[in-house]
């Protein structure tokens, strides 16, 4: 590879370089400031802002970093496109919030002396996710997935304050190791079948004749295990409730938004790059290769995911655990945006994720602020909160209503776009199932509202008065949920311009 090429490639991965530099800086500062580590979160914030700047800058460009070419293809290891930039923005915005969450979290503040490692690991996760979003080579996909996973295993059990932290970490590790092992096996079979690890090359091979359909299906199912694990799609979701419940809330929120977003971006890019043979420019629908029926599989998985998630959430008394199941259900809704295999569906996913980020982070934030004081995430301990802590309770109510998908909140718009994509694709039966799921989900979201407002407060009910900082933090998440519910034009416009994925 010549130097110009290398130079261009490097300029294409500036966000990843910035994250790596921030990671190194954090580690260095951790060593330098041995006693007082208060500076580290601010360095982290600065690093994230700088990365956001580079990502926004990437909206100008579109191309491959580390390109290669053969007779038929021009391809590369890393695809830089608008789609990737959109998801990177989501990841970085949520990381930005998570740093603030960590500052507001008692759990994390108790281990302030270890905050160097904490933020370093977090940046490890961010780096993994950013690479994962852009990776268009199976080897790089696997590497980034592992980078993300390894950092998150440690973070899930990082505080070691309670037994369940270690339990969460261990469960996460075991599930993760198994699924990434399976995924690697799938990748090796796919490589054996097609002779390449690059998605673009695999695409052109799959379009050709003489593909062993059975072997292909076998390898794809194995690869899907790895991705399904990251987005916690059923039946690979079993780790989610335990890990979400056990991990520090800030990390749970991070996993439920950023890690899931990266998983989705990977899944979408994987399918879009590897299996799409043609995108109909007038209708926006994708034509997929015939050798593997993604549609049926994904419809079944998404219905299974949302139904299992919603029905399991009904019985939960721990709010973190309930939100874990709720996030599983939301993964199911979002998968529906993919199964229509169209640009409309892709817009729906992007829009949904953008709104989901605010409402889910918001819900976790309030739960964290309450747990800071009460030390409990049990729904019974929320009794009477509406009267002792009106602001937090009202905010949580709005976040939960948004998660249910009722107007006039952003959650409704997200759901609306998913259903619009489904109806447009004439998948009305699926839309009905998803809508009925929404009704089910109402019950468990409202259950928390019920405990906050309808149930009698216990005598020792805590009063939480948010300070200016947490007040502003809640508002920063609350205002988008309400404003975008009434005026969503900019987000749709943004999403519309962000569906370009390099490839066919």
């Amino acid at each position: 590879m010549d130097l110009t090429n290398l130079y261009t490639s490097l300029s294409y991965i500036l966000p990843e370089i910035a994250v790596s530099a921030a990671l190194i800086l954090i580690v260095a500062l951790d060593l330098i400031f041995n006693k007082d580590k208060r500076i580290i979160p601010y360095v982290a914030l600065f690093g994230i802002l700088l990365t956001i700047y580079f990502v926004i800058d990437q909206f100008r460009i579109s191309g491959f970093a580390f390109p290669a070419s053969d007779a038929n293809n021009f391809y590369g290891m890393i695809a830089v496109d608008h789609f990737g930039a959109f998801f990177k923005i989501i990841i970085l915005i949520s990381s930005f919030f998570i740093v603030f969450f960590s500052l507001a979290s008692e759990e994390i503040q108790k281990i302030q002396e270890k905050s160097g490692e904490y933020y370093a690991l977090m940046f490890g996760m961010i780096l993994g996710m950013l690479v994962m979003i852009s990776a268009s080579d199976l080897v790089l996909i696997y590497l980034s997935l592992e980078l993300l996973s390894l950092s998150s295993y440690v973070l899930a059990g990082f505080t070691k304050l309670r037994d369940r932290n270690s339990e969460a970490s261990l469960k996460y590790l075991i599930y993760g190791a198994v699924s990434s092992g399976l995924m690697l096996y799938g990748i090796s079979i796919l490589y054996g079948l097609t002779g390449s690890t690059n998605l673009y090359v695999i695409n052109s091979v799959l379009q050709g004749p003489n593909i062993n359909v059975f072997t292909l299906a076998f390898s794809l199912v194995l690869i899907f295990v790895g991705i399904g694990y990251k987005i916690s799609a059923a039946p690979f979701h079993f780790w989610t409730p335990d890990v979400y419940e056990g991990a520090p809330i800030a990390i749970t929120a991070f996993l439920s938004v950023a890690s899931k977003a990266a998983g989705f971006a990977l899944l979408i890019r994987f399918i879009r790059t590897t299996f799409v043979t043609l995108v109909d420019d007038t209708s926006g629908y994708w034509h997929l290769v015939n050798s593997f029926d993604w549609k049926t599989i994904l419809v079944i998985i998404s219905i299974l995911t949302m139904t299992l998630g919603n029905f399991s959430a009904l019985w939960q008394n721990n709010i973190k655990r309930m939100l874990a199941f709720s996030s599983i259900a939301h993964a199911g809704y979002m998968l529906l945006g993919l199964v229509v295999f169209s640009n409309q569906g892709l817009i729906a996913i992007l829009v949904y994720f953008f709104f989901y980020m605010f409402m889910n982070l918001g819900a976790f934030l309030v739960v964290m602020l309450i747990a800071n004081k009460s030390g409990s995430e049990n729904v019974e301990d929320y009794n009477g909160l509406g009267y002792t802590s009106p602001f937090l309770a009202a905010s949580l109510t709005i976040f939960l209503v948004a998660l249910t998908g009722l107007p006039p909140t952003a959650g409704f718009i997200g759901k609306l776009y998913i259903f619009i994509a489904l109806v447009d694709a004439q998948m009305i039966a699926v839309a009905v199932i998803a809508l009925l799921n929404t009704v089910v989900s109402l019950y468990y979201y409202v259950r928390i509202i019920k405990h906050m407002y309808l149930s009698k407060a216990e005598a020792n009910q805590i009063t939480i008065v948010p300070d200016k900082f947490t007040f502003a933090l809640v508002l920063a998440l609350l205002i988008p949920v309400l404003v975008f519910g009434l005026y969503f034009t900019p987000i749709i416009d943004l999403a519309k311009n962000c569906i370009t994925i390099l490839g066919l």
Partner: protein, 534 residues
């Protein structure tokens, strides 16, 4: 007509009031109550101003130019690309003769309900904030002419209603509140689905000539806007119009509530505090029937005509079933709740006739039921406040102890029975006139008249058990009405008597629009059958 945005004002005034209450200092309960009172009073004044400037000969229904006080702005505009058409949603408000009575009703009943909320003492601030939010949702439903906007207002009511029943309700409030919430959301999802289906089936032509998918209700009523391939287009031989109609109807029927979707209502009514029962019976139930008249009828005229017999049948079932169940009740409030189901059946029956007189009767019945049932729930509330029981058999001879109150009770009861010269008579008579005149549902109308008999039965029996006879000594300390209760009862009584003697005051408002609607349905149903026949 882009003058003063009076419809926006009447709709969003309660939200402004809600924000004012939010920033009022703590423990200023009286201030909160007065704010709410002023807001609802201004709302009523605005409604009267609307009426004063209302053009009686302007039809509305499907024609924007004859809608009045129209406000139309581009709310959402997303420019299209090759595979994604332009998305546009309008902030589109306007009223015609069908919505005007409902606006008067909403403003009037909201004011009465505010007065009746005066003795709420538990978290007063929260109560009135939720109450005013609910008010905005109700008013918005009646003025919205864009399906998307309509749906937003429709759903906006759910959460405040949940809180109002759930926090300030009776012993089983939690159950009643969640049942209401889940039931209505279940109905809403069908409305949402049909809304999306309609969106993809019809295109509106904008001023600049481009065609865009639309949520505009008026554009959706115009059959020539439909795409040949749309799933809800009559021209598409594989269309799903019948299924969509039924889905939409179920969505609205849950709110009415129509048998067999009525089971949430008795629970909600029994547990809700009096003012909320008043709102629920007075306004909320009307949204279901209003939705059918405003949306289902003109958008699906063909199916409406095909299914009118079934609509009438369900009306009949509501009338008879509601009355029979009411008769068996031991709880005063539950009795009124079931009588409410029975009376909403008349609305369905009148609507099913598809005649001007029948639909006039139905809309008048919506208004009259709103006032009469509001009064009946207030009557129960007054008694419950004093005696803390609602058992019909616990009382007796209250007429001796509370003569003035019993006077009002008699007026309301006789209005509910349908005694001539009181408002209930006129609307029920019109409903039956309309239904009799259509041969296909004549038999249904004949059977439905039984409902009047049954209605008289349970109402008079209740009057006898509670108010007549020997005074139960337990209640000899009960005091008669106080000034505040006079203020609630007198306006309602005046309206009930006035509309009984001079129903034209209300009928003239709606007549032109209803006439237009009936012709619109007939013409369009014919042209659609021609279309699908070809």
């Amino acid at each position: 007509m882009m003058g003063f945005p009076i419809l926006s004002l009447i709709t969003f005034l309660p939200i402004i009031g809600m924000l004012v209450i939010l920033f009022l200092p703590k423990n200023q309960d009286r201030l909160v109550k007065y704010t709410s009172l002023i807001v609802t009073a201004i709302q009523l004044v605005l409604a009267v101003v609307l009426l004063a400037n209302f053009g009686y000969s302007s039809a509305g229904v499907s024609d924007q130019s004859t809608f009045q006080f129209v406000e139309k702005f581009r709310w959402i505009q997303i420019d299209g690309v090759s595979w994604l058409g332009t998305v546009k949603i309008d902030y589109f408000l306007g009223i015609d003769g069908i919505s005007m009575p409902m606006i008067l009703l909403t403003a009037f009943v909201s004011l009465i309900a505010t007065i009746s909320s005066w003795n709420i003492n538990k978290s007063v601030k929260g109560f009135f904030m939720m109450f005013l939010l609910l008010d905005t949702g109700m008013m918005g439903v009646f003025v919205a002419l864009d399906f998307f906007l309509f749906y937003v207002f429709w759903e906006l009511m759910l959460l405040p209603m949940y809180f109002l029943i759930g926090i300030w309700g009776g012993p089983r409030k939690e159950y009643a509140a969640i049942k209401f919430f889940i039931y209505t959301l279940f109905g809403s999802i069908f409305i949402l689905l049909v809304m999306i289906g309609l969106y993809f089936s019809a295109q509106e032509t904008l001023a600049n000539g481009t065609k865009v998918f639309t949520f505009n209700l008026l554009a959706l009523m115009n059959q020539s806007n439909y795409l040949d391939s749309g799933i809800l287009s009559a021209a598409n031989p594989h269309n799903l119009r019948l299924i969509a109609y039924i889905a939409l109807f179920v969505g609205f029927a849950i709110k009415i509530p129509m048998f067999p979707f009525h089971t949430w209502l008795p629970d909600a009514h029994v547990e809700a505090p009096t003012p909320i029962s008043v709102i629920l019976a007075g306004v909320l139930l009307k949204m279901g029937t209003y939705g059918i008249i405003r949306i289902s009828y003109p958008i699906f005229p063909d199916i409406t005509r095909d299914l009118m017999w079934y609509i009438g049948l369900f009306g009949m079932i509501n009338i008879i079933y509601g009355a029979l169940v009411a008769m068996a009740q031991k709880d005063f409030k539950k009795l009124i709740a079931y009588s409410s189901i029975s009376h909403m059946g008349y609305v369905l029956l009148g609507m099913a006739s598809l005649t001007t007189i029948g639909i006039n009767g139905a809309i008048l019945q919506m208004f009259n039921h709103g006032t009469i049932t509001a009064m009946l729930f207030l009557i129960v509330g007054v008694l419950y406040d004093r005696a803390h029981t609602r058992g019909l058999d616990d009382f007796g001879g209250i007429g001796v102890q509370m003569p003035v109150y019993t006077g009002f009770v008699t007026v309301a009861f006789f209005a509910a029975i349908g005694l001539p010269s009181l408002s209930g008579f006129v609307s029920e008579a019109l409903v039956f006139l309309g239904a009799f005149s259509v041969s296909s549902i004549r038999i249904i109308a004949i059977i439905s008249t039984l409902g009047i008999l049954l209605g008289a039965g349970y109402m008079l029996w209740t009057l006898q058990r509670v108010y007549l006879g020997q005074l139960n000594e337990k209640w000899n300390t009960l005091s008669d009405l106080d000034a505040r209760e006079y203020v609630m009862f007198i306006p309602l009584t005046i309206v009930i008597i006035f509309l009984g003697i001079y129903p034209s005051a209300m009928l003239d408002i709606m007549n032109t629009s209803v006439n237009t609607l009936v012709n619109f349905i007939a013409n369009n149903a014919n042209s659609i059958s021609l279309l699908s026949g070809l």
